[in-house]
Amino acid sequence: MMGGYTMFLLAGFTPLPWLVVAVLAVLAAMFTSLFTEMVAFRPVREKSLTAMLITSFAVSTLLQNGALLIISPRARAVNLPQIFQTSVMIAGTSVPWRNILTILTSLIMLTLLTLLLRRTVLGIALRAAADNFTMTRMLGVPANTVISAAFAISGIMAGIVSIFWIARSATVTPAIGAPPLLVAFVATVIGGMRSLTGAVVGGFVYAIIISLLGIFLPPDLLEFREAFMFVFVIIILLFRPQGLISSKTSVERVG
């Protein structure tokens, strides 16, 4: 959402070339993410998970209503280059460029993220912190830096996603972040919160299940597709709380 609004603001009011605007949008998302981490999440991080969850709920309400307050409750048009509207013919079917770009971008991002997590010092520190935070700190890894880095990375990813998400409708509204949030949430829970493979598998499983539900559900029940999806989420959590792909050090969630 932040990315989208930055694009709207910059593309609407500045003569910058489009690519620069996109980069700035991603940066804006990253800085928002970093800023909320420092101001809102860091003080409650050591308190409890419940406090963290309530805080994130508050932050998302804050951002949404902030946009409502400062910009407008109505949808705003975002200028995008032509490439997002055109299609190409591949093997007799017309494929929008947008989809091709989305697939390519996700492949690139996934590769980069995997490399980052597996090959760099930051990546190792991040994974160590996820496995055992206290131990990681004892070994001299600066905790705040690591967590900030995690937030920055997720901000960058969210910013990139926002470009493609907004390209679908070429408008931005305060509530635009909600549907992708739910998808990301479901996919992460299904796949497993502690591994990158899990997130990817989760994404595919989500897409496959939602499409299968679309095909096989009787028309009367088709509208309830999302409800079935969330029932599935609950079942996954009940029987495999660690997700489909679990890391070796998943914490106990039952009890």
Partner: protein, 354 residues
């Protein structure tokens, strides 16, 4: 034993009840219709916040599904209390067997709450074994499921469209009476055997299990009771607002109720009540400012969302600096005085429940 001594254990609920009664009497004496509306909604909010406190405060687990049960209570009671002609008028697609059902207000309300409780009992049992993030995510999933069903089951709920034609049964005094009953009920639950055991599992799950407390059953009972109270709140709210959509029972309302509880203090009955009073007052002031700015037309696009922004900031500040809320974990007692540090009751803070 004289009367005063007998009433001593009930000091907290009696103090809270007198505050609420005082507000009700003052409101009635002033007789301003806007104020009466605000106070009526506030009493209903107290019921909802207390319902959430009953589960969250005693079990230490955050629940997002509460407002979903409020919606179930609202729709069920409304379908029972509306006249057949009003039903046909508002939703021509209604199941035929639902149309002739017509009950007085009180049975409708109780059946609505009961349906919410039964649904909570059925879906809640398997969820009770989860804790931590998994527990929160499942209740969130439950809220989404309830919302999707309400939005799309148009033969019952009129779908995403507004359901109108509900008779206004909830007055200041009906909401007051239910509010007072709820205060006592939630307090008694906290002090009951189940409440005490549940709080033991919250403070130390393993120690509680070692003395033979069945955590799942304790949580489950609290979850059902909480859903019942949410159903009562929903039914009262529906018969006051008289026209609503399924989106009235979703994230916005969840945020407000949660903010009231967390700001007041999730670990005490007093916190829930005081939080609701404070947040309601603050919201009305902020909304008045919002309206005033809109009338002045300083902003060409209108001035919306200010109330929520301030509320979210306050919520974050409270979580950082006072994680047990304004009241903390101790109940208020009359006469109000600060207790010495190291009093008999240990204070549990949000910190210790990880």
């Amino acid at each position: 034993m004289n009367l005063i001594a007998r009433l001593k254990p009930f000091n907290t609920p009696l103090s809270l009840v007198s505050v609420i009664l005082l507000i009700a009497v003052l409101t009635e004496l002033l007789g301003i219709s806007l104020l009466t509306r605000i106070v009526t909604v506030m009493f209903v909010s107290i019921i909802l916040v207390l319902g959430l406190q009953l589960y969250m405060g005693n079990s230490g687990i955050l629940s997002f599904s509460h407002i979903g049960f409020m919606g179930i209570g609202a729709y069920t009671s409304v379908l029972l209390s509306m006249t057949p002609t009003a039903k046909e008028l508002t939703n021509s697609n209604l199941y035929p067997f639902l149309i002739p059902l017509h009950l007085p207000f009180l049975p409708s309300l109780l059946i609505g709450a009961l349906v919410a409780a039964i649904i909570a009992a059925l879906v809640g049992y398997p969820l009770m074994r989860l804790s931590d993030a998994a527990a929160v995510i499942t209740t969130f999933a439950l809220l989404v499921i309830i919302n999707v069903v309400m939005v799309h089951w148009d033969r019952v709920t009129n779908g995403p469209r507004t359901l109108f034609g509900v008779d206004n049964y909830t007055t200041l005094w009906t909401s007051l009476i239910f509010c007072l009953i709820t205060i006592f009920a939630v307090f008694l639950f906290k002090e009951s055997r189940v409440g005490l055991r549940l709080r033991a599992t919250r403070d130390d799950a393993y120690a509680a299990a070692s003395i033979g407390i069945n955590m799942m059953v304790m949580r489950w009972l609290a979850f059902i009771a909480s859903a019942f109270i949410a159903g009562v709140g929903g039914a009262l709210w529906a018969h006051f607002i008289t026209s609503f959509t399924p989106y009235s029972f979703y994230l916005t309302e969840t945020f407000v109720i949660l903010a009231m509880l967390v700001i007041g203090g999730p670990y005490s009955v007093s916190g829930a009540v005081i939080g609701t009073l404070v947040v309601t007052a603050a919201r009305e002031v902020l909304r008045a400012i919002e309206n005033y700015v809109n009338i002045l037309q300083i902003f060409p696009e209108g001035f919306f969302g200010f109330t929520e922004v301030v509320l979210a900031i306050v919520l974050i500040v409270i979580l950082i600096y006072r994680p047990t809320g304004l009241i903390g974990s101790q109940e208020i007692r009359w006469p109000f005085r600060r207790r010495k540090a190291g009093s008999s009751e240990p204070s549990h803070s949000i910190n210790q429940i990880s």
